[in-house]
Structures are given as structure tokens and as C-alpha cells.
């Protein structure tokens, strides 16, 4: 695919993916904090609307008065849980080959461009801790090339990780049960919106094609 400035485009798209990951990571924390004392004040539907309309705004939920701190989500303020962020970014990075389906006329991203994008994201701190995420870049690439349907983006790896590595969240409590229900819905919806955002971003980077090139 033709970009005016390919490096800038690759970095820009990588940034969007990273920001999306951080946004999802924070959104989980913000929505989890509702259980502390805002269960009847904040409508979860509103929270979803805000997050999904501001995919790259990592703190958009502050508008609803939600805060992340030791009081509201102490269970998530530990080293084990902090590893979730690079894992979320990794789970998004391995799906980069699907961007091949984004077309600008007949133009689409080459394998090389996709790999460079994947590398850029991985360099910014993505990590598959203890191989919790079973999907890989190559596997996704293969499925896309074959035109096969990808498995849905789910929170299964997240829940497995929580059960096995974060005892404060694995405990059966009202708050933790709320969390498990929440992530199932949030992951799927968030990924769908992020895909759309990435499509727009890619088109944006190709939009201003110089006139002489077009001729």
C-alpha cells in the first residue's frame, strides 16, 4: 500500500494499536472501580458508550467521575496484574495481518509492511507472558492468506491469567464476578471498534496521495 511517508504511517498505526491496548487496560480498571461505590450511580451502558467512542482516549471514563486508585481497585494494583497491559497489546499485535483486508481501491498493505508494523508494536513493549495467548502472528497471517475466518477476539486468555496469577482477582467476590462478566463483553466489542479505527487510520495515511504519483 502506498503511504506518503511510510515510516510515519507505520509508527502512527502502531501508536494507535498501543493506545488501544492501554485504553482497554484502563477501561477494565475504570469499570471495575464502579463496583466500589458507584454501582447505582454509573450506568454501565454509558461507560461502554464512552469507551467505544473514544478508542484511543485512555482516560475518557474520567468524565463519568471514575478514578483508578488504591481505594477503588486495590485488587488490580499489583505487579502480577500489571503484566496484563503488554499481554493485551500482544493480543492485538498478533492480529495485525487482518489489516491486509483494508483496501484503498486495489491497494492494500504488503506482508512486509505488516511485519514492520508488528515489529514496531512489539518493540514498544508487547509481551506474551508465560505464553498465555495461544494465537501467533504467523498463524493469523496464514488464516488471512487462506481467506479463513479468524477466531473471535475473546477474554479467555485474560481470565486464565487472572485465575492462575492474580489471587486477589481470582477470589470469589461480588466485585470479581462482575469483572469476569464485564471483560467477556468488553473485549469483543472493543476489538470490533478498534478494527474500524485502524481502518480509518490507514485510509487517512494514504489519503493525501501526491498528484504526480496519481498521474
Amino acid at each position: 500500500m502506498f503511504f506518503i511517508n511510510e515510516t510515519a504511517a507505520i509508527n502512527g498505526i502502531a501508536d494507535t494499536i498501543i493506545k488501544g491496548g492501554v485504553s482497554l487496560y484502563n477501561a477494565i480498571k475504570y469499570i471495575y472501580s464502579i463496583t466500589e461505590k458507584d454501582f447505582y450511580n454509573v450506568n454501565i451502558k454509558d461507560a461502554f458508550k464512552v469507551v467505544l467512542n473514544n478508542i484511543t482516549d485512555t482516560d475518557s471514563l474520567q468524565a463519568l467521575g471514575l478514578r483508578i486508585n488504591d481505594r477503588t481497585c486495590i485488587e488490580m494494583q499489583n505487579e502480577e496484574y500489571n503484566r496484563v497491559l503488554p499481554m493485551i497489546v500482544y493480543s492485538l499485535a498478533v492480529r495485525i495481518p487482518t489489516l491486509k483486508n483494508v483496501k484503498n481501491g486495489d491497494d492494500f498493505m504488503t506482508d512486509d509492511q505488516l511485519y514492520r508494523l508488528y515489529t514496531a508494536v512489539m518493540e514498544k513493549g508487547a509481551e506474551n507472558y508465560k505464553d498465555m495467548i495461544s494465537e501467533t502472528f504467523l498463524e493469523t497471517k496464514y488464516l488471512v492468506r487462506k481467506g479463513k475466518k479468524l477466531p473471535p477476539f475473546t477474554a479467555d486468555w485474560y481470565k486464565t491469567y487472572i485465575y492462575t496469577n492474580v489471587p486477589s482477582l481470582a477470589e470469589i467476590t461480588n466485585k470479581n464476578m462482575f469483572l469476569l462478566g464485564l471483560v467477556d463483553v468488553l473485549f469483543a466489542m472493543f476489538y470490533s471498534c478498534l478494527e474500524e479505527e485502524l481502518h480509518n487510520k490507514i485510509i487517512e495515511f494514504t489519503a493525501d496521495k501526491p498528484e504526480d504519483e496519481e498521474k
Partner: protein, 558 residues
């Protein structure tokens, strides 16, 4: 100590504020929010253009609204800090006929600071962290008016209200609200309330009485530094463990001895001027209710003025207030003069043989006819407003513009209540057109505009602007071209004509005027010169009633 002053404090503020019983309430119920509203609309328009709310207009609007009530003034930096945004939100919803949900969804991905402000504010409403303070203040003004009317209102022929009746009415009114809240399942702690405190028992006492607090802290600093952290209680329901919490705090100071004389004198100096009683209301409604309650407790009552229909504080048996009305006099003085004139007219025109006092006839004024401003006039005035507003500080200074806009809004208000006519408004707008031209010219040359003859002042002047005729008079006289006054002056007989102002076309200073007016209306030749009219002999005839017998009136019974 003044019996009519009480003091209150609010959360998140270390100052004390005062309420002048009855005056504060009357001021709030009569407060005109028009200027504030106009400022907000202007701020909204500019924000739409520039993408951010203009801070100068916002601070100006907040200053205006904080004059409505001391509680608003006290909370203008916290609870009422977003009142301008609230007003803009309300205006958008109202003018575009959309709900809050739709506006919120429109701004959910904000593109500029203005949209962010709206989105954040509506999000706060949705999460029960705030409410629309603008709509709330308007509703509370209506609430206060209704409450006063319910408690102090009297119908014609009703005997004077006793303390017992006033208290019963007040209790009945409050009870009605409580019953409604109870039936709707409203929890107790959701209703407004007031706490009675002293400065030392305020929630923020340590900061409100900071000097003495610091001295106390120094005495117990060491013990307190090892104390148990109780901040975790903030998010818990402590309603059942108040005593326990207080005793845990007390445990650290229980061995306290009385301080030495120097420290005690220092405390005395610091505490001496503090109020002994301090109320801590949690909302504006609570303050309004408190004021009414204290008024009744302290025997401060209100009465409706029989002339202007507005409430005033009762100081004696008078039924008229001391507000200056459209005639430039107070209702009380005007009424006294009316009575005097009636008595004089009765003396002058009474046949000599009729010495026996006759009952004073009641001069009934024709009810004022309210006029609605036609849309084209409204549009014209709006255009003029915009044109002049743009040039504030360039061709017209701020005070002059304020005076002009106040005059315009008074004129419109008077039209609505029937105290002015459309022609007077048109005359004022004609003057404003000329003024606008001058201002436009002046703004180009960056000099003050040339004086414009205030022709409308000869015939009209809205109520509030008509208070200082003695000051305005010489200025008018000094103007180069002065058209002769309208013949309307001929109908004014009062010795101090200069004080009489327009918008009272159907009221008369003396009985003589009333009869004269009636006489002229009936006269076929209406274009009689005013001087002739004055000289013409007027015969005042008493109505001649024929007494009918029962048979004449109803016919004979079968």
C-alpha cells in the same frame, strides 16, 4: 445583636455568610436572571465559533448570578462553578428540541474544549455527581415565590393574618412536600437539611478557626502522629457509629488541661468575633426554608403591597411598600398623596351647603393591558443589541451599554405588564438606531460617539430608570436641540411634575385628573389646545343612582 441577621457556612469554604431575614428572600424571589441568561447565550455562541468558552464572559455571568442569593455566592466556586455551562446546555436542549441524552451522544467524541465541557457536565448529571444548577435555581425561585404566596398571601376581605395562621400555613406547605417525598419513596438523607453548629463544631472547623486550631494541634502533635488512621471511614456508612468515632478522636485529647492565660487570651481574641450560632445548609432549598422558618420564629412577616402586588417586610400597619414604582415615588407615598388629592378635590368641588362628609369615592384605575412584543420589533431590538454589544469598548463604553440594555429590558418588561406602549418602545428603538449609527461612526474613528438626543425620555422612561429625575433634568436641558414637551404635561396637576414618569397612562395623581381624563374622552372635539383644556370649567358630578324597589327590580311575586 441584630435579630434579623443569621449566619451560615457551607462545605468546602471557610468563610461565614449572612442572611438578612426577609430581605434576602425577597431579593431572591425578585431577582432578574435576564442579564445572566443573555451572557450565557453569548458565551455559548462564541464557544461554538471558537471552540472554547470565553472566560471573561463566564466570570462576568458568575458574578451576576452570585448576587441572587448569598448561598449562591458562597458556592460559586464549587457547586455553582459550572452554572454557565448548565445554562448553555439547557438553552441548546430547549432551542434544538433535543434531550440531554442526545446532546451527550453528540459530544461523546469531543472535538474541542467546548464539546468536552458539555460532555463532561452531562456525564456528571448522568452519574449523579451534579445537577443542572441553572434549571435548579429557576425552579427554586418559583418555589420560594409560591411558598411566600402560600404563607403570606391574603385574599380580598380576609382578616389580617395571625402568628398562628402563618405558622400553620408554613407547616402545611412543608408537610405537603414531605408527604409527596415520602409517597414517592424518597430516602430521608436525599432531602435538603440544615445543621445548627458553632464555628468549633463545623465539619471544617480546623480550617475555619485556623489560628486556635494550630495552637491546639501543636499541643497534641506527637500523640496524634501515632494515632490510628480513620480516613478509611470516609466511604462507609457511619450513621450508627457516630459516638464511637467521636470518642476515638476524643481519646487523644482527653487529658487536656485548660491552657495558660496567654494561650487563653489568644483564643479569646481569635474567637471573639465569630458568630455564636452558625447554620450549615446543604442546599439552596434548605436555606430558603431556614429563612422562612426563622422569619416566623422572630415575628418578621411579609405583606403584599396593595399597589404593586409585591411582598414587603411588615413594619407597621401600612399596606403599601416603600419601593419606588414607575411614577418615581414609593407606593406608600403615592397612596398618601392620592388620599390627600382626593380629600382636596372633594373640598374644592363640593357645593358649599354640602358640609357633611361624604364617603370618599374609590378611583378605580383601568386595568393595564399587557402587550406582546411583535416578532419584527423583537428582531429589531435584537439586531440593535448585537450591533451595540460588538462595539462595547470601541464606540460605546461598557456602562453606557449596560444602561442601554437595562433600559431595553425594562421597557419590554413594562410592555408585558401593560405599563408601556408599543409606540414608546418604537420611539426608544428609533433613538437606539440613531445611537447605533453614531457608535458605528465613532468605532471607526476610535473616538467616543457624539451625543444622541434622547427623544424618548420626553414621553417615556421605564421604571428603574426613572428614579433620579432631578439628576437627569439638567442634562436634557443642556442639549442643543430640544423639542417641546408633549401636551401630556397638561394633565399633570401635582406640584412636583418633574417626578412623574410615564407608563402610568391609566392612573391619575388626583381625582381632578381622573375626571378631566374622562371628560376629555367624552368630548367630541378632542383636539382642543391643552391650555384651553386647562382653563375650561369642569363640573364634577356625583353619580346619580336611582333606587329601585324590589317590585321594580324583580317584578311582583306571584
Amino acid at each position: 445583636m441584630n435579630n434579623s441577621i443569621v449566619r451560615f457556612a457551607v462545605h468546602d469554604n471557610n468563610n461565614f455568610y449572612k442572611i438578612d431575614l426577609s430581605k434576602t428572600l425577597l431579593q431572591f424571589t425578585e431577582f432578574d436572571f435576564t442579564y445572566f441568561w443573555e451572557q450565557c447565550i453569548e458565551a455559548g455562541r462564541m464557544a461554538r465559533k471558537n471552540g472554547r468558552l470565553p472566560q471573561n464572559i463566564i466570570s462576568n455571568a458568575k458574578t451576576v448570578v452570585s448576587r441572587a442569593h448569598p448561598f449562591v455566592e458562597a458556592c460559586i466556586s464549587n457547586d455553582y462553578s459550572e452554572i454557565v455551562t448548565d445554562c448553555i446546555i439547557e438553552y441548546i436542549c430547549h432551542s434544538e428540541r433535543i434531550g440531554l441524552e442526545e446532546l451527550w451522544a453528540r459530544c461523546i467524541t469531543p472535538k474541542n474544549l467546548y464539546e468536552t465541557a458539555i460532555f463532561r457536565r452531562i456525564s456528571e448529571y448522568k452519574a449523579n455527581r451534579a445537577m443542572n444548577r441553572w434549571t435548579s435555581i429557576v425552579r427554586l425561585q418559583e418555589y420560594a415565590r409560591n411558598k411566600l404566596e402560600f404563607i403570606f398571601g391574603t385574599s380580598e376581605g380576609e382578616p389580617l393574618l395571625t402568628e398562628e395562621i402563618i405558622r400553620t400555613r408554613k407547616e402545611y406547605f412543608d408537610l405537603a412536600v414531605s408527604v409527596a417525598a415520602n409517597e414517592l419513596g424518597c430516602p430521608d438523607n436525599a432531602m435538603p437539611s440544615v445543621r445548627l453548629c458553632t464555628p468549633a463544631t463545623l465539619p471544617n472547623a480546623a480550617f475555619a478557626v485556623s489560628k486556635v486550631s494550630k495552637a491546639i494541634y501543636r499541643r497534641f502533635a506527637e500523640a496524634l502522629s501515632h494515632g490510628q488512621d480513620m480516613s478509611a471511614l470516609e466511604n462507609r456508612n457511619c450513621s450508627k457509629i457516630h459516638d464511637q468515632v467521636a470518642m476515638e478522636a476524643y481519646a487523644y485529647v482527653k487529658n487536656m488541661s485548660r491552657p495558660g492565660e496567654i494561650d487563653m487570651n489568644f483564643a479569646l481574641e481569635a474567637i471573639r468575633d465569630n458568630p455564636t450560632e452558625l447554620y450549615l445548609p446543604d442546599s439552596l432549598k434548605a436555606v430558603i426554608d431556614l429563612e422562612v422558618e426563622l422569619m416566623i420564629q422572630r415575628g418578621i412577616y411579609l405583606r403584599k403591597c396593595e399597589s404593586c402586588g409585591r411582598y414587603f417586610t411588615v413594619t407597621d400597619d401600612n399596606t403599601r411598600c416603600d419601593r419606588v414604582n414607575s411614577s418615581g415615588k414609593t407606593c406608600r407615598k403615592q397612596y398618601e398623596e392620592l388620599l390627600e388629592s382626593i380629600a382636596q378635590a372633594a373640598k374644592v368641588n363640593m357645593p358649599e351647603e354640602e358640609i357633611a362628609p361624604t364617603p370618599v369615592p374609590v378611583v378605580e384605575t383601568k386595568p393595564d393591558i399587557p402587550v406582546t412584543v411583535p416578532p419584527e420589533t423583537e428582531k429589531r431590538s435584537q439586531k440593535l443589541y448585537n450591533a451595540l454589544y460588538k462595539r462595547v469598548g470601541k464606540g460605546i463604553d461598557e456602562n453606557e451599554f449596560k444602561e442601554w440594555s437595562q433600559y431595553l429590558s425594562n421597557m419590554k418588561r413594562n410592555l408585558k405588564i401593560g405599563e408601556a406602549t408599543l409606540s414608546q418602545l418604537d420611539e426608544f428603538l428609533d433613538y437606539s438606531d440613531r445611537l447605533c449609527e453614531e457608535v458605528k461612526r465613532a468605532s471607526k474613528t476610535k473616538t467616543p460617539h457624539a451625543p444622541v438626543e434622547k427623544t424618548y425620555e420626553r414621553n417615556s422612561a421605564p421604571a428603574q430608570n426613572a428614579v433620579e429625575p432631578a439628576v437627569q433634568q439638567p442634562v436634557v436641558q443642556n442639549e442643543p436641540v430640544q423639542a417641546p414637551a408633549e401636551p401630556q404635561v397638561a394633565t399633570i396637576v401635582s406640584s412636583d411634575e418633574v417626578n412623574v414618569k410615564p407608563f402610568v397612562p391609566q392612573t391619575f395623581d388626583t381625582l381632578f385628573d381622573a375626571f378631566m381624563a374622562g371628560y376629555n374622552d367624552d368630548d367630541e372635539n378632542e383636539k382642543v389646545a391643552p391650555e384651553k383644556r386647562e382653563k375650561k370649567h369642569v363640573e364634577i358630578k356625583m353619580p346619580q343612582w336611582e333606587r329601585l324597589s324590589r317590585e321594580d327590580a324583580y317584578g311582583k311575586k306571584d
